[in-house]
Symmetry: C2
Subunit: 351 residues, 2 copies
């Protein structure tokens, strides 16, 4: 009999206890950053940052809202919890260095399930050279909650805020948009099909890319590295978690400006486009409001155009304008309509 059919005895969390669980989950942690002076194991971790600035961000993920365990593999969940937090540090043009990870789980979860989540957490931390320095575990009466806080560093002159954009700055976006949302819709559809007939096999042929964007988003460290290499400093930057339109609003409002976005410039992959049509959703709406892209939205001066124009992974989608013009979308046929942010809302989720 292969491993596939092996019946492993699972370890209930009540058997190992909180301290046992913490020891078990943290025993293999290796610290890689010199700024991390002391990690897990005391009342607090100890860090040292010479003259650098320190960046701090936090995100909480809740079962049934941010993820559905019927189709979200636990390793990927752990990976994603770290990835979305690192994305916030990259969006400040900084380097993530440490994370704390807290989780609350129902005691019905097994140790092996928690280990899977942690294996994804470790994988993400290893991929991006981030130290796990602490956390907390707690019981929950219902559901799984993951709360991550990330710390990063940056030279004072490198930090990029949301509020630094100027009129006429070019608006750029990395990668492509709407794919993670299409991945979510595919998974939700297959869940419904599976409920009706558990013998149905999911049909994801050719859609791996969409699923991967949903289940295993990669924060754009490569873009920050490129900025360093090419000596580019965006004037403003934000990561795209709630949908492009919502982030354009944030960036514009913080900078005291409006923005003009060109529909034809929105980077939408063919698979995303086709899948949106399959779901009778306007691909542009998917790109503007889908959310969870974890790409970077940033502005640069026109002067920097030459430096980035050759990168296929960066699209120039519009420019910043005076606040009085507001936020406008120029459609493919040249019609101007007000940009709408229907962004994902934590209290009104798609169900």
């Amino acid at each position: 009999m292969g491993e596939h059919f092996e019946q492993r005895k699972l370890t209930p969390l009540t058997e190992i206890g909180e301290f046992g669980l913490i020891d078990h989950l943290t025993k293999n942690i290796v610290l890689v950053n010199p700024e991390t002076r002391y990690g897990v194991g005391d009342d607090a971790a100890v860090l040292q940052y010479g003259e650098k600035l320190m960046l701090v961000s936090t995100d909480i993920l809740t079962e049934g809202i941010h993820f559905d365990l019927t189709y979200f593999p636990l390793q990927h969940l752990g990976y994603k919890a770290i990835a979305v937090n690192l994305s916030d540090i990259y969006a400040m043009n900084g380097t993530p260095k440490q994370v704390t990870v807290s989780l609350a789980v129902s005691s019905k979860f097994s140790l092996e399930a928690i280990e899977k989540i942690y294996s994804g957490i470790h994988r993400a931390c290893a991929n991006f050279n981030v130290d796990i320095i602490g956390g907390d575990t707690a019981s929950s009466n219902a559901g799984l909650f993951l709360s991550v806080t990330v710390l990063g560093s940056a030279d004072p002159e490198d930090v990029v805020y949301r509020h630094g954009a100027n009129e006429k700055d070019l608006i750029c976006v990395t990668g492509d948009l709407g794919a993670a949302f299409m991945g979510l819709l595919l998974l939700e559809r297959e869940k419904t099909v599976f409920k009706a007939d558990p013998n149905m096999q999911p049909d994801f042929a050719g859609k791996d890319f969409l699923l991967e964007k949903q289940l295993k988003p990669e924060p754009r460290k490569d873009i920050i590295d490129l900025f360093r290499e090419k000596k580019i400093k965006p004037t403003a930057m934000i990561d795209i978690s709630d949908g492009l339109a919502s982030e354009v609003f944030h960036l514009g409002k913080r900078s005291g400006l409006g923005a003009t976005i060109y529909e034809e410039k929105l980077p939408i992959f063919q698979t995303t486009f086709d899948t949106a049509r399959e779901f009778s959703i306007d691909p542009t709406t998917a790109a503007l409001n889908g959310g969870e892209d974890y790409e970077l939205l940033f502005t640069i001066t026109q002067h920097d155009y030459e430096k980035i124009k050759t990168f296929s992974d960066i699209s120039i989608i519009g420019h910043m304008v005076e606040a009085s013009y507001g936020f406008q979308l120029i459609s493919k046929n040249g019609v101007q309509t007000p940009l709408k942010a229907q962004g994902w809302d934590a209290f009104n989720t798609i169900k």
Copy 2:
């Protein structure tokens, strides 16, 4: 009609939305620490710490496990969520400077309920000069979850770890023990009585102190200030969240030592003592294993005895011994028994 009888219209969270809620909760935040360069409002907060060490700790509080909303006032819950985190920074002999606060709530919660939690959070931050620099809000399918990360600073030579104790060092504890646990038992008892007869009024006469220790613990900043003033540096320190016995084990094991604790030296207030008896609980067990005291357990060299002997709020309860002696409790009648840590366990809570 007095305010007491006024029927206020409550605001459902779905009406205000996530961004509205964040704006609403953070609009009155005033930053007080010069190290806080930029707080709420971007992808990450920005901090600067010259040559100091930075301390980081995090705790997650879950409804039904750490608190019961049938008797836990929301303001106090917010206060306690901050207090227990600050306690971890004080336990490193550091100064807390910033917090991030994430909460996941069911959409059945009203805006006003969340405001109450935040008013407690603001109160605690104001009392201890701590800046709120970020956080996240999310929906939960069931229950309330509060996740706080605290950042603090310390001069490199001041940090006190759990692992620094030496043989013969004196073991000290601040304040008194067991009161928070008695407060919890009182509240649980009244809840049972109330369920049986909702017209019953709770009888907490003379027990305010116990309730306060449970509902509104105060982290021991005053002790850290005293250390500064008297030039005392503990050799090891930990805060008492899971019960004295459990923390003595942590401190001893990290330091590679055992410990001898004298029962007669345990600081137990008369009200705690009497209430324990009322519940047919050995007061010593309450002091050793009750938990949630949020006092400090620390060790000092015998040389420092003169510096602390006059402080009524610090009790010397024993001393560190060679590891081979293990952890022993010397009872009031001189009998030696192994110390037992039955500490509160996140996966086996009292219900």
